[in-house]
């Protein structure tokens, strides 16, 4: 896993050196996906959204106290996706904040919360868009959370320190979100000469590279809030099977 990540970083840095571009990197803009792709990504997102709503209902019915924690996960994504941070590529982008909720409530719950954030930004900020909502939700609210959730569970199996699992889950979830965005754009706009691969490299240089330092920031911030939760909301985390390995020792001892 780590080896893969290293390779990925090497590839990305190479792209950066080959094609330095000062660019911003965020969601796909309104109207910038051909209609058939808008429908395709929308249709792909919909089932995840429905499963997510069910999963949230289940959790909340089981224990109404979890509502507060769910709201916290939503608020975290809300704050982080509003912060446009400068990056080493000379442009700005923002973290997504969906990793935390994915670790706590599972990936599809964040499909719901992430889509709400995207809808808010599309309607009030002209950031992203209604016609690209499906595609943006797929990258930020499905791929991101699933990657974060998967990595967290995987690393937990290998008894990795909790802070490391949380950090890698959140950062890689963030990074993969924007790699997905690049793939989506490259699929919709393959280069007439170089095809899909050429477009993908181009879009990656715009979207994915800027994201690397932000992914690290997001990882660190997620560890910070997770530290807090293990101190104050230990029982809720146990109930959600987030801390199934531990008996009593919160993150503070091992982090």
């Amino acid at each position: 896993m780590l080896k893969r990540f290293e390779n990925l970083l090497v590839i990305l840095v190479t792209i950066l050196l080959l094609s330095p571009q000062y660019a911003s990197a965020m969601h796909i803009m309104e109207g910038f996906l051909p209609i058939k792709w808008s429908i395709f990504w929308g249709a792909l997102t919909l089932p995840f959204l429905l499963i997510g709503i069910k999963s949230i209902q289940k959790n909340v019915n089981l224990n109404p106290k979890l509502k507060m924690l769910l709201a916290l996960a939503g608020a975290f994504a809300f704050v982080l996706s509003a912060l446009k941070l400068p990056s080493v590529t000379g442009s700005c982008s923002h973290p997504t904040g969906v990793g935390l909720g994915a670790i706590l409530f599972g990936p599809t719950a964040m499909t719901v919360l992430g889509s709400i954030v995207l809808l808010f930004q599309a309607l009030l900020l002209a950031h992203g868009g209604i016609t690209t909502l499906g595609a943006n939700a797929f990258s930020m609210a499905i791929v991101g959370p699933f990657v974060a959730f998967g990595i967290y569970k995987l690393l937990n199996k290998f008894n990795s320190p909790k802070w490391l699992s949380v950090f890698l889950a959140a950062s890689l979830g963030n990074l993969l979100t924007y790699i997905t965005t690049s793939v989506q754009l490259a699929l919709a706009f393959p280069s007439p000469t170089g095809g899909f691969e050429f477009s993908l490299l181009k879009f990656m240089s715009v979207f994915a590279l800027t994201q690397i330092p932000l992914a690290i920031s997001e990882g660190l911030l997620t560890v910070l809030i997770f530290n807090f939760l293990t101190t104050y909301n230990f029982n809720e985390l146990k109930e959600l099977n987030v801390l199934n390995n531990e008996k009593t020792s919160p993150i503070s001892e091992e982090a």
Partner: protein
């Protein structure tokens, strides 16, 4: 100790955010999604966006107001949550 660790984490995030501002020469740090847009027009020059945003903030100031509002709403709740948990523990 958790508190010390969290302070260190916060400082790291601030550093990662601030350093690009100093090391990247002539970076524009634009927030517009223009470059990807440009790229699309280079790759397929005849593509026309087929949908416009229903509403756009009339100026950069209004846009930053709404972004700030978004962050403030989220941060208020996080602050409330932390305060509540902290108080309960005492």
């Amino acid at each position: 100790m958790n508190k010390t660790k969290n302070i260190i984490l916060a400082i790291l995030v601030i550093l990662i955010t601030a350093i690009p501002l100093f090391i990247v020469q002539n970076g524009e740090f634009t927030g517009a999604d223009g470059k990807a847009e440009e790229l699309i027009t280079t790759i397929s020059s005849n593509y026309k966006p087929w949908f416009k945003p229903l509403w756009e903030p009339p100026s950069g100031e209004v846009e930053s107001l709404l972004f700030t509002l978004q962050a403030a709403i989220g941060a208020s709740f996080i602050g409330y949550f932390i305060g509540l948990a902290h108080g309960r523990k005492k």
